[in-house]
């Protein structure tokens, strides 16, 4: 340029660069206080349990934002439907992290999908909390390769704990009233029931119940008559179930055929408020395991959440609703504790979780436990509950029975009362 010396140019350049550098931190600080914190929710929207996850996340986020957000920043839920496909879930995870900038991912009740997402959480260093998948495999990977897999947390009781909870409920709730000395275990053939059944086979004999048969059926089964006929021929006192992908059909057919043997155990769909309507009342008498239910009053937050969810969506939440609303709060608190949304810092903060949510007191197990990053199970923490469907309502029976409640089985059930 005519009239400009070289030193002039250098000075101008230096001035521009310095001005630019000065703007950066101010811009970043200004931007950060307005930017919402994004949490990704990956769920199976066409499934009852899956829809519960995204809905509960919305309820949680709205409540947190109404109370001022997280350190002044709003929580934003970014939702993805994985169509019950692991491939879709992985794509959603990749997109959530790389394009949409989520700081954590919460979701899925399907073990196969949670296992598919676990390595992606490890690769992208983004915490992933499953709020419905039960298999022990999830935490086994964390325990065995902690440095890699520590980004995954299981905010749901694993299959072994579920089986233990159900065995304890049979012992404390049913055995004082009825003769229960034999059972048939009936489970769907899926990843999460392998450890469940293994634990049933151990904990049932411990309470004096002989396992007469162990049946695993394909989740595609639509006609349960042959199975029920086989079971009836073996004359067990109870059927102990491990079902989640199925629920309506086995229950309806059990009632229509008037099978005289009660069903108790894990029936994930029976935890949903819509189950009575879905089965046209065939659910009467089913005893199902869940983490919380209307009237259980596990903590001050339990009923408040049920009411908020029911008001917004017209029905009580399924089990995944409770775990997810707690998970969103756990993440929010971890962000506050860590003072950052960085993945590594979040993991450390999440490990320090001590949160009283809707399901009880939530803490994650540490490296010394075989179920690293699983949820702590036991009195004072999370025990699970047993509910029974009666007259269109889910009645909590264990560990705390609803006032004036009793166990009611359908008239076609044959159980010998305890002498």
């Amino acid at each position: 340029m005519p009239g400009c010396s070289k030193t002039d140019l250098h000075a101008r350049a230096a001035l521009v660069v310095a001005a630019g550098l000065a703007c950066l931190p101010i811009g970043a600080v200004l931007g950060q206080s307005k930017e919402p914190i994004k949490i990704g929710i990956i769920s199976e929207e066409s499934a009852i349990a899956g829809a519960g996850i995204s809905r509960a996340a919305q309820v949680a986020a709205d409540e947190i934002n109404a109370a001022g957000g997280v350190d002044g920043r709003k929580l934003e839920i970014v939702q993805y439907d994985d169509h019950s496909s692991a491939a879709d879930a992985v794509r959603a995870f990749q997109r959530a992290v790389s394009q949409d900038g989520v700081v954590a991912v919460i979701g899925t009740y399907i073990t196969e999908i949670a296992l598919a997402l676990e390595p992606w959480a490890a690769r992208s260093h983004v915490p992933f909390i499953t709020t419905g998948a039960a298999s022990n495999e999830i935490t086994r990977h964390i325990h065995e390769t902690y440095d890699k897999n520590r980004f995954t947390f299981q905010e749901y009781l694993n299959s072994t704990f579920i089986a233990d909870s159900i065995c304890t409920s049979i012992k404390q709730l049913l055995q004082p009233k009825y003769v229960i000395k034999s059972a048939v275990v009936l489970s769907e053939d899926a990843a999460w029931t392998t450890p469940l059944d293994a634990e049933y086979l151990v904990c049932l004999p411990k309470i004096g119940v002989q396992v007469l048969d162990h049946i695993r059926f394909s989740p595609d089964t639509s006609d349960f008559t042959p199975l029920y006929n086989k079971i009836e021929g073996q004359k067990p006192d109870v059927i102990v179930t491990g079902i989640s992908h199925t629920g309506v059909q086995p229950t309806v057919q059990w009632a229509q055929q008037q099978l005289p043997i009660p069903m108790i155990g894990n029936s994930s769909q029976a935890t949903s408020g819509t189950f009575w309507r879905d089965t046209n009342g065939a659910a009467a008498g089913i005893v199902a395991f869940s983490l919380a239910v209307d009237g259980a009053d596990l903590t001050p937050k339990t009923q408040a959440f049920i009411n908020a969810y029911a008001k917004r969506f017209g029905e009580a939440p399924p089990y995944t609703g409770f775990t997810t609303v707690d998970a969103v709060n756990v993440v929010a608190q971890a962000i506050k504790r860590a003072g950052s949304t960085d993945g590594e810092k979040l993991v450390t903060a999440l490990e320090q979780t001590d949160y009283v949510g809707t399901i009880g007191r939530v803490q994650f197990l540490g490296r010394d436990s075989e179920f690293t990053h699983g949820m702590k199970f036991g009195d004072g923490y999370v025990t699970g509950i047993a509910l029974q469907w009666q007259d269109g309502k889910q009645v909590p029976l264990w560990p705390k029975a609803a006032p004036q409640s009793k166990i009611v089985f359908p008239s076609f059930t044959h159980l010998s009362p305890k002498p």
Binding site: A47, L227, N229, G247
Partner: protein, 293 residues
């Protein structure tokens, strides 16, 4: 041992009757109008879910819900005809020799759309409708839900009515003629388009009844739509495309084969023998058991 045999006999009879009703509609559609409606399963599911919605959300009695379901089946059938099949058949841009494939693909995609729509609004969870008659009865020591027997009775009654329609009424004879030689029928002055409307109406009723009965018996979910279509397809091919008697026979063969497998081996392998049988029949006798062409 005889208890088990009796159980298999009864269970197999009901399920075969249900399969038979669905397959008869499917084969009639192919025989008369040359359409292999791959949205068949979806049509049944729509009927089932409609019956469930009416029974549950409007607290109606099961019979009213059943009627609503059948109406939904008819509406879906007509929607399939007017939105998918007829436009393709009348299209000038599709070469005549390729029309069948286009209709096949069109109904397949339409079936998927229906399936996804049901899942979107009502989830893919199986829906059940209260049994038309509740309770159980003892038959030779076997405790059977009354509804199961009612299903068999209804299916056969409907099939009987269909037979009367086809063989004893003028409209039915026109249908039969159309399935043998549509061109001749047109030359004789019959309006083919009215024949097609009649066959789609009959198809809608049959698929609607089959869907509703399935919902009262085993339950129906949007995820089952393709499996129901595949079942009907196998039965119809086994029995001979276009032969109503063949479809009924094949329905019973497959229904009993499935029941025997479910009871004696395992419910998981239920559908396998039927598929193996289908392959064998196609090898040995491609026309199917009672096929014409």
């Amino acid at each position: 041992m005889s208890m088990l045999a009796f159980q298999i006999l009864i269970d197999g009879f009901a399920i075969s009757a249900l399969y038979g009703l669905g397959a008869v509609g499917f084969t009639l559609m192919f025989g008369v109008s040359g359409v292999l409606n791959l949205a068949h399963g979806a049509t049944m599911v729509v009927a089932a879910v409609t019956a469930w919605v009416v029974a549950g959300h409007y607290a109606a009695n099961p019979w009213l819900a059943a009627v609503a379901g059948v109406v939904a089946g008819v509406v879906t059938a007509f929607a399939t005809y007017y939105l998918v099949v007829r436009p393709i058949q009348r299209s000038r841009s599709v070469p005549t020799v390729e029309k069948e494939i286009f209709v096949l693909t069109g109904t397949l995609l339409w079936g998927i759309m229906l399936q996804e729509a049901v899942a979107y609004f009502y989830t893919d969870n199986p829906k059940t409708v209260p049994p038309l008659i509740a309770g159980v009865m003892q038959i030779g020591g076997v405790r059977t839900p009354v509804n199961e027997l009612l299903i068999a009775v209804i299916c056969w009654a409907v099939i009987g009515l269909l037979w009367l329609l086809v063989n004893r009424t003028k409209a039915g004879k026109v249908l039969l003629a159309a399935s043998i030689n549509p061109r001749a029928l047109a030359i004789l002055g019959f309006e083919l388009s009215r024949v097609y409307i009649l066959v789609w109406l009959i198809y809608g009723v049959l698929a609607g009844i089959a869907g509703v009965l399935l919902a009262t018996f085993l339950g129906a979910s949007s995820g089952q739509a393709s499996q129901l279509t595949a079942s009907a397809f196998s039965i119809v091919v086994l029995g001979g495309l276009g032969s109503v008697a063949g479809s009924l026979l094949a329905a019973y063969v497959i229904g009993y084969l499935e029941t025997l497998t479910a009871y004696l081996i395992s419910p998981t392998y239920r559908s396998m023998p039927a598929l193996v049988l289908l392959v064998l029949v196609l090898y040995v006798r491609p026309n199917g058991l009672l096929g014409r062409r």
